[in-house]
């Protein structure tokens, strides 16, 4: 059977034509779309098309209690949910004047860094798959699963672990947990040479990634890019170091930087960051047993918890960049306004449009994945 009206599809005679990248194009990350106009192989204009994942989070949060929202926030970025929980909790703690016990802060850092490793492994796989190399995806996602197992043991959820709550964390570490974290770190560290051999020294991949989607430091600053994408242009800015939260100022880690600003530099920055996360986790695993104390500050009855009037802007460094929450309380039991500044909101829309314009069609997916765009953060 012929599709109805198939003869009616007629394009005006032109050297230019239009292609939808997405939302079910495999070259797109998540449920997102990019309309591109092509001249031959070259993209002459591009427009991001978001909103496929819009759930109206900010509206939903206004209708739920402070504590209920902790179940909503991780959904805003699926591959890297822990920073969302922590950032929202930090905001509430700042509003309510809660002092988070030190042990809870260390456990939170452990969660954050585990989540960062998981997210980076996911991104490596996706990035390699855009160029047709599927093996890193299979390996990376399987290795990421071991981290999800750790999360599951701690919180009961593989992907969404509503584990960080205002005031601290939900429950203490199980017996022998740090040993298992340490084992998993050993395993992932032992896998890194394999990834290097397969992906990071693979000359075909290097050739595909070098010079793709170049962004200078001026452009990156101008467009408000943050996170690994900014560091790949040579600016060593990391919220963890320059605007420290939790106990990051007590930890030793480097902020890896690359100069080139292309897809390859971004990939290298993520790889170096993964190693730094391992380094941080080693420190946390070594220090955590010494730190005793409560894991949660006492909070009032969460079902009738009125936070004082005020507003706060909290930032954390997620695997995609600077994640921020602007939370306003009018003294009620529900937030008056929550504004989520997803890091991808910058590099998945304007920056993507700019970088894709002038690129070739085979590099579009590579650019998007090397920017590590997370569409739900854009749509919210």
């Amino acid at each position: 059977m012929r599709p109805e009206n198939y003869q009616a599809v007629s394009h005006p005679p032109s050297h230019e034509y239009e292609v939808f990248f997405g939302p079910n194009h495999p070259g797109i990350e998540g449920n997102y779309a990019l309309k591109v106009r092509l001249h031959g192989d070259e993209v002459t204009a591009a427009r991001a098309d978001g909103g496929y994942l819009h759930r109206g989070f900010e509206k939903l949060m206004e209708g739920r209690l402070w504590i209920q929202n902790i179940a909503l926030v991780p959904r805003i970025c699926v591959p890297d949910p822990v920073p969302m929980e922590v950032c929202y909790s930090l905001a509430i703690e700042a509003l309510g004047g809660l002092e988070v016990p030190e042990r809870a802060q260390w456990i939170r850092v452990m969660q954050l860094e585990l989540s960062r490793i998981a997210a980076h492994l996911f991104t490596f796989g996706g990035n390699a798959a855009t160029t047709g190399m599927y093996t890193p995806m299979f390996w990376g996602i399987a290795d990421r699963d071991l981290i999800l197992d750790l999360f599951e043991e701690l919180s009961g959820g593989r992907v969404y672990h509503i584990y960080n709550i205002p005031g601290g964390v939900r429950r203490d570490l199980p017996e022998g947990y740090l040993k298992r974290v340490s084992d998993t770190l050993d395993y992932i560290e032992s896998r890194l040479p394999d990834y290097d051999n397969l992906m990071f020294t693979n000359q075909v991949f290097v050739r595909r990634a070098t010079g793709v989607g170049i962004m200078t430091q001026e452009q990156a600053l101008d467009w408000g890019v943050t996170g690994p994408n900014l560091r790949a242009t040579g600016l060593p800015f990391d919220v963890r170091r320059d605007d420290p939260y939790l106990i990051y100022d007590q930890l030793e880690f480097d902020v890896p930087v690359e100069e080139a600003g292309d897809a390859w530099a971004r990939t290298l920055v993520r790889r170096a960051e993964l190693k730094q996360s391992l380094r941080i986790l080693r420190q946390v695993v070594a220090r955590l047993p010494e730190i005793d104390g409560p894991i949660r500050a006492p909070i009032p009855n969460p079902l009738a918890w009125n936070l004082p009037l005020g507003d706060v802007y909290t930032r954390v460094e997620s695997s995609k960049g600077e994640l921020a929450y602007y939370v306003v309380s009018n003294g009620g039991d529900k937030p008056w306004r929550v504004h989520v500044r997803g890091p991808s909101a910058m590099h998945a829309v304007q920056v993507l449009e700019h970088l894709v314009t002038g690129a070739r069609i085979e590099d579009v997916a590579q650019i998007m994945f090397s920017l590590d765009a997370c569409p739900p953060e854009v749509d919210r």
Binding site: A48, D49, G50, G51, H54, G56, E58, K59, L60, G63, A94, L221, D222, W223, G224, T226, L235, P236, F237, R241, D242, D243, D249, D311, V312, Y313, R315, E322, A324, Y326, V328, W336, R337, H339, R341, A345, M346, V349, Q350, V378, D379
Partner: protein, 198 residues
Amino acid sequence: MTPTDAPGHDVTTTLDFLLQEVDGLRTRWVAPRRLRVDLPAETLPALLELLKGRAGYVHLSAISCVDWPDDGQFELVYHTWSYELNVLVMAHIRIPRDPGVYLSIYDLYRPAAFFERDIHEMFGLWFEGSPDMGKFILTEWEGPPPMRKEFDGEAWVMEQFGWQEYRPEWLTEIEAKGGGISKRPEQLRGDKGEDGTA
């Protein structure tokens, strides 16, 4: 650029000194690296220009909009960050809810295009001079700007959608014996006026 710890005396004084150049400001340090500035709407471009030009505030972290229907105002909050001073300046302005028009700061900060379009979609504010005020997220939405306080999302949902029936036999049995949920969700919803029948 070097990592700075909590802002020392010099950073605070630098900023405080600099901000004296703009009239009508009220500044307050809310946290070690958070400076809150309240100012009249018309001086905001001057403040941002000053911050960007003289204190290295090149990074616009976000523009947040807060709806205050009781005051008849929208509050716009511009969060800017300096990679040199490592201090976040939050500039709060209030503009009248009606007609809800303000100036775009796109010529100063490009990320503003995204946030202004977002605020336009969600709150219905109009930014003069913003490059693209077309729909982005809510392309399929024809109702009022959903983030305004007067839009009741839940009531809209009740009107628009039906709900799946789920009452297995075991639950019916339990309910016959007086167990189960005392008040079913649709009754609760029905109290609000709509029962959401498909």
